[in-house]
Symmetry: C2
Subunit: 297 residues, 2 copies
Amino acid sequence: MKWDDLKVFLAVARGESLSSAGQVLKMDPATVGRRIARLEERMQARLFDKSPQGYGLTEAGRKVVAHADAAEQAVIGALEETRGASNTLSGSIRIGAPDGVANYLLPQICAAICDENPGLEVQIVALPRVFNLSKREADMAITVSPPQTGRLTVQKLTDYHLHLAATRQYLDQHPPIHGRNDLAQHRLIGYIPDMIFDKELDYIDEVGEAAHAGLMSNSFSVQLNWARQGAGICIAHDFALPTYPDLVQILPDQVALTRSFYLIRHADDRRVERLNRMAETLASALRHEIVRLEALA
Amino acid sequence: MKWDDLKVFLAVARGESLSSAGQVLKMDPATVGRRIARLEERMQARLFDKSPQGYGLTEAGRKVVAHADAAEQAVIGALEETRGASNTLSGSIRIGAPDGVANYLLPQICAAICDENPGLEVQIVALPRVFNLSKREADMAITVSPPQTGRLTVQKLTDYHLHLAATRQYLDQHPPIHGRNDLAQHRLIGYIPDMIFDKELDYIDEVGEAAHAGLMSNSFSVQLNWARQGAGICIAHDFALPTYPDLVQILPDQVALTRSFYLIRHADDRRVERLNRMAETLASALRHEIVRLEALA
DNA sequence: AAAGCATTTTGCATTTTTGCAAAACTAGGG
DNA sequence: CCCTAGTTTTGCAAAAATGCAAAATGCTTT
């Protein structure tokens, strides 16, 4: 038994003809007629009196209308349900991001997007680990390396740069730095080695063999605050520096790292238009903001 | 929006996997998956969390289940409705027939059929005119000529024969009949000319120019009863004669008519299996009964 | 740590369904 | 009495959906 046939049955019952039903359903009258024939066969009953003047309900057909009506109401209900649900999705979108992005990029960007789209509610989830999109921890997430596994769609956002940074005050009070080797005499701030959740964050080796971190946190934000208070030298995203004018780049020509951001989403959400628009807006805004902030650094 | 997709949605929600849903729906899991994908696209919402461990309902999906359930109930209701209706159809089948058939053939046949099919109720409608099957005056009808118009299926049943007949007593008391010409001296019983509803019933010309009816009725049964009471000579179906042993055929070799019966039905009922079986049973029984009765005549 | 297992997902040949155009049909009007 | 107007119905080609087999995926067990 095909539920769809009940839908065309309803249309024919209301239009009292195949042609009018076809117009409503945007189907050929021939198709409508064939579906009705199939339905009557499956139900083992004549539902319509057919004539070149149209389709008139038979006694049995009249009884079926009530049920078909109920079915239609249920279908509409289901549709409304998800329309509401997808509203709350577009009304409340959750974005996961590493804490650097979450703290120094997303706040401004999301605020701007919310201003342009009234009724949109954005949630930022800052977590120092990989996301599990499948469990709806977030609708989309920003990562520093494209995921290798899982049914996800990945989209490269933009490159970004990192440099050594410290406060002017710190640099004044400590031995001068003219080259990489001078770093050995300083206190470096970095990630806790066994809590690094993405190999792309393992900067310290690239800075130089001599370098090793004395202050460590799993949170970039904590690292940056350490540096801001003159505790040492950290490896900071350029886009984070303008937030704290105290901080200055160190050896920008000799020590420079380049990484990339990726936006990942459920593969199944590919066709959800609202999320597509949101993703595109977000990507575009992130690219511009990074360019703007890096120019200020 | 395809209502059918809601059905497969329900199956997947219950089976919590494409494969189990496929088993229930007797469809390939691949198809089930594609339908779910299409449904999610149309609804603009993710309904399931997909994994190689199965399909799990998402929050939005859970809300939809209730509506899908309601839809299912409505569809089942519609199905039950017509199942009941088609039961009463097979429980009460209405057969239209000219009154000769209605009186001298159908009673025995229908009684036998009812004996074999307990719970079957047969209604015989004897009407001296053409039927209007479209208005559900009858589910099927027996006629003496195939209809030329209307959406009907026609099926030839069998030939039958008519002869002149009167009571022995009448013949003894009136001039002897040795040939067609002798009929002019007798009182013939026939149809009322302007109430003949089918040209096949216009026997009188075929009997002979000399013949003309003095007693007329639109009902064959009335004509026969006239003859049975010795009122004259009628043109009787052979299968009706055994009912009244008083009646004997007259000039069986010189005056004999052959006609045919046809069973007509709604073209739309072609696929209703119960009616098909009923029609086949009826046709077969009629053929046998006519052969049996004509042998006795 | 690696292989097994039940599941979903993809590529392709087949079947089914659909749309279009033309024919058939019946009631109402000139 | 015929003819028109609006239907439904049929024949055929194109499009869509389906099933099957193979590949991929992620948990579980050895």
